[in-house]
């Protein structure tokens, strides 16, 4: 019986035929009913969305660094590129307090070093205050 399918192409053919009989999807896609054409359109649409979003962003590149003076005088936001240092703004003032510098967090625990810290994304910096005794 071993030479039952002895022509070389039949092996491949069997393989092909059986692929056809396997149900379309398993697992998470079990109930998905979709054609290749529809998938192609989804892929194209996704790529298009990505390209458009990137294009829009590239028209106005850069990150906004805003300053929350937490009760002090307002400080204007800055536009900076990735890896840039921020320009030191005019320090804000607040009655009864002295300004202690800029911090990354609202609670003023992690300081932002104007000399070395670089912009990596949209950032808000918070003003640190110390009460004048």
């Amino acid at each position: 019986m071993e030479d039952f399918n002895n022509n070389p192409s039949s092996e491949e053919e069997e393989v092909q035929k059986n692929e056809e009989q396997v149900p379309k999807f398993r697992g998470l896609y079990r109930y998905v009913n979709i054609t290749v054409k529809q998938l192609d359109m989804i892929i194209a649409a996704c790529i298009l969305v990505i390209v458009i979003v990137v294009a829009i962003e590239l028209m106005d590149p850069g990150f906004t660094v805003s300053f929350n003076s937490l009760g002090g005088t307002d400080v204007a936001p800055q536009e900076q590129m990735y890896g840039d240092l921020i320009e030191e703004p005019v320090p804000p003032t607040r009655e009864g307090y002295t300004f202690t510098g800029w911090y990354r967090d609202n609670a003023c625990l992690v300081p932002w070093d104007i000399e070395t810290d670089t912009v990596e994304t949209d950032t808000t910096l918070y003003a640190g205050w110390e009460k004048i005794e």
Binding site: F4, E14, Q16, E20
Partner: protein
């Protein structure tokens, strides 16, 4: 014989990358006849039908329906033009009612908006009466048996006034009586002038029902003739391309002492009731019975993947609890399941992983890692031993043919070194040539002193390879017959005992 030709397919060609699936196939269907389409798995029958229904776009050739050239884009379009298909796997909205399924997509409407339920009911009832189907049109599909759902599918085809109905393996999950009913309906449709294309592996059925037979092989048309002119042996010869002198290999195994004793097994969630039998060393024991007579449940209860309410199983006089598959394997049992694709193979995994999964312990080194080398050795051993046809061990199992997949799974079980092999429909969906090899394998196993229990719906198969046959009926053991001096009628009588 001057029935008019309904469907004429000439020179149909379909190429998949690297493979010619159909090569200039001709096919002609006359009105009022049943035309059987035969061939091994992968011969191109399904592909031909898919080209007819527009599921595949044909590369070449011509399809004429009533003399007009057609090229359907979808099976819906085909249905609207009077070409219907009753699928192997039924494609129905199971949560909806019978009549919803029949009129889906073309509900009769009142004023263009409201669905006319009354008309739907009346029309459904009319079709059912015509076909002699006794089903309430309001019934929900999921509450009905496969056979009844199939009837609904046929009724749907009739309700479209179909001129051509294709049956793809319609009897694979039907009982004998249900098959009778189906044949009555097919005969009735034939008398009404409908052309019927009947695809099946079961020779006996084909001989009974069909007027013409077309045989395909390797994507080519081989022969078409009157059914009366073709003997079963001729058909097999045409299908495999060579003479098959014997369907079964010679039986050489000699049963020894009783090793497996199954006593009073009763199922907790199924119909099994007091099932008792025993099996000898080196014996091939058949389990016969109608569909849902409890054959599969018996095997699965022994193997511990179904819960038993009571009953004992003893191997070599030692009781085995077999509460889970894991435990059963340890006790020396193994189970080849009925649904190969659903519960047998790991489709996306390669042959090696499919082979060694049940015997990973053998390959464990220092209780820590698995030796790749020994896994490969074992896999190669069984690929060679069973002549599994595969490009390599790293081929994904789903790309093998049914017969070769079955061999890989049998190899998986042999690696666990079992004493008792429980084989549930070991040759289902496998072509004739590969069946012979599986039979040979079973007999070889018995020769090595293994106990083999085979469940099969094909009685000739059981009579061909088994030493003894236990017949089940309605969840009980109806009797036991000798494998050699029994006829199919004897088994049928027993199988109907508790129905």
């Amino acid at each position: 014989m001057d029935q008019n030709v309904l469907l004429k397919m000439t020179g149909i060609t379909k190429t998949f990358p690297g493979v010619k699936a159909l090569d200039g196939v001709n096919f002609e269907l006359k009105a009022g006849t049943v035309h059987a389409l035969m061939g091994e798995n992968g011969a191109g029958k399904s592909t031909l039908m898919k080209c007819l229904f527009g599921i595949y776009a044909k590369d070449g050739g011509q399809i004429l329906l009533d003399g007009k050239e057609i090229d359907f884009k979808s099976s819906k379009e085909a249905l609207e033009n009077g070409v219907a298909m009753v699928h192997q796997e039924l494609n129905q909205a199971l949560k909806r009612s019978v009549m919803d399924n029949i009129w889906l997509g073309r509900y009769p409407k009142i004023g263009g908006i409201m669905v006319d339920e009354k008309k739907m009911y009346k029309d459904t009832k009319a079709v059912f009466d015509e076909l002699g189907i006794d089903v309430d049109p309001h019934r929900i599909m999921s509450t009905m048996s496969v056979s009844q759902r199939q009837m609904v599918e046929i009724a749907k085809a009739v309700s479209y006034n179909s001129k051509i109905i294709v049956f793809d393996e319609p009897t694979s999950s039907l009982t004998e009586q249900e098959v009778e009913h189906l044949f009555e309906i097919i005969n009735m449709l034939r008398d009404r002038g409908v052309g019927i294309i009947y695809i099946s592996h079961k020779m006996a059925e084909i001989k009974r029902i069909s007027d013409y037979i077309t045989v395909m092989r390797d994507g080519k048309w081989i022969a078409t003739d009157h059914a009366d002119n073709l003997e079963m042996a001729d058909i097999i010869r045409l299908m495999v391309g060579r003479e098959l002198t014997n369907q079964f290999p010679p039986k050489t195994n000699v049963p020894g002492d009783v090793v497996l004793e199954v006593q009073n097994v009763t199922g907790l969630y199924n119909q099994l009731q007091d099932v008792s039998f025993n099996a000898r060393k080196g014996e091939i024991l058949g389990l016969a019975g109608l569909e849902s007579s409890g054959r599969t449940e018996t095997l699965e209860s022994i193997f511990g993947i179904r819960t038993r309410k009571s009953g004992t199983i003893a191997l070599d006089g030692k009781p085995c609890f077999n509460r889970s598959a894991h435990e059963s394997i340890k006790n020396g049992f193994s189970l080849l399941t009925e649904e190969r694709r659903a519960t047998g193979i790991f489709g996306v995994l390669d042959i090696k992983d499919n082979t060694v999964i049940s015997s990973l312990k053998r390959h464990l080194r220092f209780g820590l890692w698995l030796s790749d080398k020994s896994q490969r050795e074992d896999t190669q051993y069984y690929i060679d031993a069973m002549r599994t046809k595969t490009p390599s061990q790293d081929t994904k199992i789903r790309s093998l043919s049914g017969g070769n997949q079955q061999k890989v799974i049998i190899g998986r079980w042999l690696l666990t070194d079992p004493e008792v092999l429980l084989l549930d429909e070991p040759t289902r969906g496998i072509d004739v040539g590969a069946k012979y090899e599986i039979y040979q394998l079973i007999i070889d196993l018995a020769n090595k002193g293994k106990t083999v229990i085979v469940v099969s719906s094909e009685m000739p198969e059981l009579l061909g390879i088994c030493d003894r046959i236990v017949v089940m009926s309605g969840g009980r053991v109806a009797g036991e017959v000798d494998g050699q001096n029994t006829t199919q009628e004897d088994i049928m009588t027993l199988a109907a005992k508790y129905v």
